[in-house]
């Protein structure tokens, strides 16, 4: 995570997760992807009750077990040991994906390789000819969950923009992403394109635009600053 962009300023991984967590309403059924998205659960504001789904077959996933308390038959979609909360339920894979594909899960937070300004998401393959293709449940999640949030560094390690006009990598789904949380900004996918809803402290609009592969639109809360 030592990109040039990061060293200038912006949110770190924990702060990105914390910012995303603010947008998880009370009572939501939520599926969190592997990596930074997993951290969102730690930061959901106090006073909200959220139920976590893991697609291998559990609703009501709890926190990681204490060391020594791991059960190899109680794991999450990342194959890590988890616990269950009171009121949890186990079910088989078809029922679990019916929750996803039948639009019963409210929010899914995922990582991304690229997001296009129309909401296209690429997060499963670079399309490199020697790569072993592996997709897991990513395509089911983006096609089926009501709201898709992405948490990602704004640029790749080599400084390439991940928010682009058109994805060059193979898609996971078309026009599926609603909002993106990066180290630099919170950006909504709108019919007009990427709209910047918030900037990380110390980051200005032009700084983000310079690191984005598509035109950014200032959101309402930013408009006065940018235009005024």
């Amino acid at each position: 995570m030592s990109t040039q962009t990061d060293t200038i300023s912006g949110w770190n991984r924990e702060q990105m997760a914390k910012r995303a967590a603010l947008d998880i309403p009370n009572g939501s059924y939520v599926n969190l992807g592997i990596g930074i998205p997993e951290k969102v659960a730690q930061y959901v504001p106090a006073g909200r009750e959220v139920i976590y789904h893991t697609e291998n077959g559990l609703l009501g996933m709890g926190i990681a077990p204490e060391p020594g308390q791991e059960d190899p038959e109680l794991i999450n979609a990342g194959k890590k040991p988890v616990t269950v909360i009171p009121g949890a339920a186990y079910f088989h894979h078809a029922d679990s994906f019916a929750m996803i594909r039948g639009q019963h899960i409210d929010i899914c937070v995922l990582g991304a390789m690229q997001v296009a300004e129309n909401g296209d998401l690429a997060n499963w393959s670079t399309g490199a000819p020697d790569a072993i293709p592996a997709v897991g449940g990513a395509m089911d999640l983006v096609a089926g969950v009501k709201t898709i949030y992405v948490i990602t560094q704004h640029c790749t390690k080599s400084g390439e923009p991940k928010l682009v006009d058109t994805c060059s990598y193979p898609l996971t789904g078309q026009a599926v992403v609603s909002r993106i949380y990066t180290d630099l900004a919170v950006i909504d996918v709108t019919p007009e394109g990427f709209m910047v809803a918030e900037l990380a402290p110390g980051i200005d609009f032009d700084h983000v635009q310079a690191r984005t592969g598509a035109k950014l639109i200032p959101g309402q809360m930013l408009a006065s600053v940018v235009n005024g």
Binding site: V84, A89, Y90, F91, A98, M99, G102, H104
Partner: protein, 238 residues
């Protein structure tokens, strides 16, 4: 803490927003699993021109038969609209006052399960070569003909269960389980009447039949009426 709590106090309140023209799935196979108190509350509410999905069309003059008799149902989607002890549906059907979409029972169940699972259409061998396949798309897979059927969704589902917690996790009683779990998946708003409410955690996660994600509202009816007893006593509703 604002807890998730899907419990509602009264059967009146729990069905209050069922609107005219809504599609309503009603659980039960005969009287087993029939949410009779919810149906009677729907009669009280007066919602009209409903499309109702149920395997049957009710018995006597209570429950689903009473809802139909009260002219609140514009269309029935079911597999078996005849019963020995009710002429409510047949009379209205012959009078042209109610529409019928007849669906084989297994196709009905599969369509409901598909509707709740993001499957807009599927193929089945059931009904091929019969009048119920007329006008439907046929397609051959592996040398056998199948008919295309559509997933079925609803605005509301009214179901009955044995126990529920505030998350909406449900368990059922014996063969009263029937359509409850799949209707809960297929409806936008699922309303369950439960014989008992239990604390979160009281239902073993291995035993949950309908996970709470499929349930929106719970109302307790500790001593539900037994439809066959009402019918035997000649009761009618309202």
């Amino acid at each position: 803490m604002t807890m998730i709590d899907k419990r509602i106090d009264s059967v009146t309140a729990v069905v209050a927003d069922i609107f005219d023209g809504a599609t309503v799935m009603v659980g039960g196979f005969g009287e087993a699993g029939s949410p009779i108190e919810l149906i009677h509350a729907l009669i009280d509410s007066g919602a009209k021109n409903l499309t109702v999905v149920n395997n049957n069309t009710g018995s006597g003059h209570v429950g689903l038969a009473a809802l139909i008799e009260n002219k609140q149902v514009g269309k029935m989607i079911c597999s078996f609209p005849r019963t020995a002890n009710s002429t409510v549906f047949p009379d209205l059907y012959r009078a042209g006052e109610i529409e019928l979409e007849l669906v084989p029972q297994g196709t009905l169940a599969e369509r409901i399960r598909a509707g709740g699972s993001g499957v807009p259409a599927f193929y089945t061998a059931t009904s091929v070569g019969t009048p119920l396949a007329e006008g439907k798309e046929l397609r051959n897979f592996g040398g056998r003909d199948y008919v295309m059927e559509f997933g079925l969704k609803a605005d509301f589902a009214l179901i009955k269960c044995e126990r529920a917690d505030r998350y909406g996790n449900l368990v059922y009683n014996k063969t009263a389980r029937n359509f409850g779990p799949i209707m809960a998946m297929a409806a936008n708003i699922t309303i369950a009447q439960t014989g008992a409410q239990v604390e979160v955690g009281a239902i073993d996660p291995e035993m949950v039949v309908t996970p709470g994600i499929f349930v929106d509202r719970i109302v307790t009816v500790a001593y539900p009426a037994q439809e066959s007893k009402l019918v035997a006593a000649g009761r009618s509703y309202p």
